[in-house]
């Protein structure tokens, strides 16, 4: 029986440094299962020098909106002199943040993304899409074109654009096919010139790709395989969720494109995160790093990080 004394508010304290998906999930672990029934609210503490990687930003956005949809009180606390709030505003974070989420010191009054959209060749502001609305057919080409603009001197920029186009189109298409009805999904991109990498990320808040593909797993007798092994198979050869033979192509295709650029693949599932590093021109289970028993985060959150050196 849930009593008043068992209801708590949790604090998600992000570190005052660069935060990648691994760090984000470790922080979330310390905070606990914030989507659970005993949590009434969450305070997200973002210190002044906290720098969030683009895939963390999109996952944090999804988490905040999921919490808000569950009628939990969500408060984002930014340091007074920090740059984090400015960067998030520039990326369009607040444009897509649920209205009920409280922002301190205050929510930006003007959208940096709206003002500067398209002016920075190194990033694509967070784009929102929802399977209840037909996909904007310019979305994938626009995202890919930004990658190409960000690397004007590279001889292979056309190939990079082509790969980015396919990855975005397939991941976005996958959301439409597998995520089920629900909250908005997001796509974004950020280049990191000093690290010589580009990170492409697509997140949804659906039922999770493993659940939607379960019938196919059972049909193919794959229920004894670990989720990591199944995930690798999805990106290597595709596993269909429909009876027709042409399904299961999207993740495989995006994986094949990413491998050509030696991209790391980071996938956050409901309670697990898997990082796949390329090995011998493919993704293999023994080169997977897995964080298990993570707090629930609805949906499937996929990011590829291309190395461009």
């Amino acid at each position: 029986m849930v009593t008043e004394s068992s209801l708590v508010e949790r604090k998600l304290s992000l570190p005052d440094k660069w935060v990648d998906t691994h760090t984000f999930d470790n922080t979330l672990c310390r905070c606990g299962d914030v989507l659970g029934p005993f949590v009434t609210g969450v305070i997200v503490d973002i210190p002044p020098n906290c720098k969030l990687m683009i895939d963390v930003i999109v996952r944090l956005l999804s988490l905040c909106n999921q919490l808000s949809a569950c009628t939990k009180r969500v408060r984002l606390h930014f340091g007074d002199a920090g740059t984090a709030i400015g960067y998030l505003n520039r990326m369009g974070f607040f444009d897509h943040l649920a209205a009920a989420v409280e922002v301190y010191p205050h929510r930006p009054t003007l959208s940096g993304a709206t003002i500067h959209r398209g002016s920075n060749k190194g990033l694509v502001e967070i784009e929102r899409f929802n399977r209840s609305v037909p996909a904007d057919k310019t979305l994938a080409p626009r995202l890919a074109e930004t990658v190409k603009r960000g690397w004007p001197d590279r001889a292979d920029r056309n190939a990079i654009e082509s790969a980015s186009f396919s990855i975005f189109s397939e991941l976005i298409g996958n959301v439409y096919e597998h995520s089920g009805p629900g909250l908005d999904a997001y796509a974004a991109l950020q280049t990191y010139p000093q690290a010589k990498k580009v990170t492409v990320t697509v997140s949804d808040s659906g039922m999770g790709i493993m659940a939607s593909l379960k019938p196919a797993f059972e049909r193919k007798g794959l229920t004894s395989m670990s989720e990591v092994a199944i995930l690798v198979e999805m990106f290597r050869r595709g596993i269909s969720s429909k009876e027709e033979g042409n399904r299961g192509l999207g993740l495989m295709t995006s994986g094949r494109h990413a491998i050509r650029f030696n991209a790391d693949l980071d996938v956050r599932l409901l309670n697990q995160r898997v990082l796949l590093r390329p090995s011998q021109d493919t993704y293999q289970p023994h080169m997977a790093y897995s964080q298990e028993q993570l707090p629930l985060l609805w949906g499937t959150h996929i990011s590829f990080s291309f190395r461009l050196d």
């Binding site: 994938a140 056309n158 082509s162 298409g173 042409n246 192509l249 495989m252």
Partner: protein
């Protein structure tokens, strides 16, 4: 389609497929259709699967459909993956150069296919002579290539008075 040079996604692929099928199905009877990829800047594998691989597979053994004016490596890569995933071979022409994307022939039929692709049309008996195999064996190979969509064939009268098949590359 409709001026979109970067179509993507399964839904648009299905719409495109319907229009292609409608175009192919109307008008005089056809045995060969050439789809030009000129002006297409990008397509993804999901679009290619519905609009190209599925349509080609649908007309297998009835109408030969090939692609022409395809020079972009990224598009080729996606068509190759999409067609391979559903087991459909896609004949692609660049000038006089022909290539097969997608499904590949079995190792036992590869030589026969290569022989057929170098010529406008072939008879099993011709290949049997060259390869040093029986006519029956050669016939089986070419029939398999026809069954699986790598070649077309037409029925002709054999010199012996019976029926003989001429096998043709698509395009």
């Amino acid at each position: 389609m409709d001026g979109d040079t970067k179509p993507w996604g399964r839904e648009l692929g299905r719409v495109t497929a319907e229009r292609l099928v409608s175009t192919i199905s109307t008008g005089p009877e056809k045995h060969l259709v050439k789809l030009s990829m000129e002006g297409v800047e990008q397509i993804d594998a999901s679009f290619a699967s519905e609009a190209i691989a599925e349509v080609i597979g649908r007309y297998r053994k009835k109408i030969g459909i090939c692609l022409v004016d395809l020079s972009d490596d990224g598009i080729r890569f996606n068509i190759d993956m999409a067609a391979a995933h559903v087991g459909v071979p896609v004949t692609v022409w660049n000038g006089s150069q022909v290539d097969i994307l997608g499904a590949k022939p079995s190792s036992g039929n590869r030589e026969a296919l290569n022989y057929a692709l170098e010529r406008r049309e072939v008879r099993a008996s011709e290949f049997a002579d060259v390869a040093g195999i029986s006519i029956a064996n050669a016939s089986t190979k070419f029939k398999s290539l026809w069954d699986n969509g790598f070649l077309m064939r037409v029925e002709t009268a054999a010199d012996s008075g019976g029926v003989e098949f001429l096998y043709r590359r698509i395009g």
